[in-house]
Structures are given as structure tokens and as C-alpha cells.
């Protein structure tokens, strides 16, 4: 069973389109994240949700909108895609700080290519 699964794994789309990336975790974690990994491999947090509530919203264009229908899912919707949005997007989940063996589990990443 995959702990954190995100789909699709690859996404190629044209500029101006709207696309979504889905993420689900079956670990019972309360916190989920979206990270963007650029071409230089830098991992930057975009959003964090705790129990379906947004707790972290870094400086991200409002074309990016996360949606958490329940605490096991955190989807990322992107409007009006731009060339600069091309990157690998990772979903992750974790227990709260202080939980035994705290760690973040990552999905396999979605490589988004905007052409």
C-alpha cells in the first residue's frame, strides 16, 4: 500500500490551461503539504494543511489553489499555467511535532511540464 500517492506522475500541458494534481495519504496524518522542486532541485514549501485547515501559505501566486476535502486528501489546482510553473510537485504528510517517530512521507512527485 502506497502511504502517500499523488496523480498524475507526469503532466504535460499548454500555457494557459488549468490542471489539478491529486494527493491522498492513508497514514492517518493530520498535516499535509505541497512542495515545489525547481530545476536546481530546491524544495520550497507552498502550502500546509492541518485537519483540512490551511496553516501555511507561502508566497505563491493565487493561480495555485489547494483544496482539502478531508484530512486524507490535499489536491492542488493550478489556473492559467505559465512556463515558469514547470517543476516537480511533491505532496507530503506528517504527524504533528512531538509525535513518536515524527517524519514526513512523500508522494512520488508529479513532473509538470508547461509548453
Amino acid at each position: 500500500d502506497t502511504a502517500v500517492s499523488q496523480t498524475p506522475k507526469y503532466l504535460v500541458t499548454q500555457m494557459g490551461n488549468d490542471k489539478s494534481i491529486k494527493c491522498e495519504q492513508n497514514l492517518g496524518h493530520d498535516t499535509m503539504y505541497w512542495y515545489k522542486q525547481d530545476s536546481k532541485k530546491f524544495l520550497k514549501i507552498m502550502f500546509s494543511y492541518n485537519n483540512k485547515e490551511l496553516i501555511i501559505n507561502e508566497t505563491v501566486p493565487n493561480r495555485f489553489s489547494p483544496k482539502s476535502p478531508d484530512k486524507a486528501h490535499l489536491n492542488l489546482h493550478i489556473n492559467s499555467l505559465e512556463l515558469g510553473d514547470s517543476a516537480v510537485y511533491f505532496c507530503a504528510s506528517s504527524q504533528e511535532l512531538g509525535a513518536l517517530n515524527t517524519e514526513a512521507f512523500f508522494g512520488q512527485g508529479t513532473r509538470l511540464t508547461v509548453v
Binding site: K41, F42, K44, I56, S94, N101, T102, E103, G109
Partner: protein, 113 residues
């Protein structure tokens, strides 16, 4: 805000030798976790080792160990008996009270045969 610095963009080591990857961080918090994640070419993020800040003893996981210096805010990773499969990007990460996992920029490690 927490920051994590990895000062070595790239490193290489011969198979079977030992290599140490550096990481420093900045925080005013007292309770936090530090991690090393490995990202091989497959792109998957894999937890290598975890250290709780309140534990003075350095964490070890088989060939991987850390040197955690809390006062110096330093958290280096030592890989012993390096193997070809250790070739990957290695990310140091901080997890603190803001419930945000902050990553360093990574170190690309190449193990040469």
C-alpha cells in the same frame, strides 16, 4: 524564520570510503526535529535518518550516522562504507513548531566505483 544551509552543492567519494555532508540551521526554537532525506534519480524522497533535538545521543542507522551539535546548530551526515546505491541528492531538513518542514538546497553525492 528557520533556515537550513547545506554548503556543499556537490561531493564525490570512492566506493567503500566515508563521506560527511554538512548542514547548519538557524532557529530560536528548543523543540524540533532534524532529518536527512535522500533523493535518488528515481525522484522518490526517502528518509535516511532522524534526530530529535532533545536527544543528546547522535542518531545512527546502519552505515548512516549524524553529528548533532545543538549549540552550534550543526547536523552533519556521515556515510560509512559508501555504496554505489548511495549516489543521490541529500537534503537536510528542519521540522519545528511552525509545523513546516524546511529543506536545505541539497548536496549531490556521487559514489565512484
Amino acid at each position: 524564520a528557520q533556515t537550513v544551509t547545506q554548503s556543499q552543492p556537490e561531493m564525490s567519494v570512492q566506493e567503500a570510503e566515508t563521506v560527511t555532508l554538512s548542514c547548519t540551521y538557524d532557529t530560536s526554537e528548543n523543540n524540533y526535529y532534524l532529518f536527512w532525506y535522500k533523493q535518488p534519480p528515481s525522484r522518490q524522497m526517502i528518509l535516511v535518518i532522524r534526530q530529535e533535538a532533545y536527544k543528546q545521543q547522535n542518531a545512527t542507522e546502519n552505515r548512516f550516522s549524524v553529528n548533532f551539535q545543538k549549540a552550534a546548530k550543526s547536523f552533519s551526515l556521515k556515510i560509512s562504507d559508501s555504496q554505489l546505491g548511495d549516489t543521490a541528492m541529500y537534503f537536510c531538513a528542519f521540522f519545528g513548531g511552525s509545523e513546516k518542514l524546511v529543506f536545505g538546497k541539497g548536496t549531490k553525492l556521487t559514489v565512484n566505483p
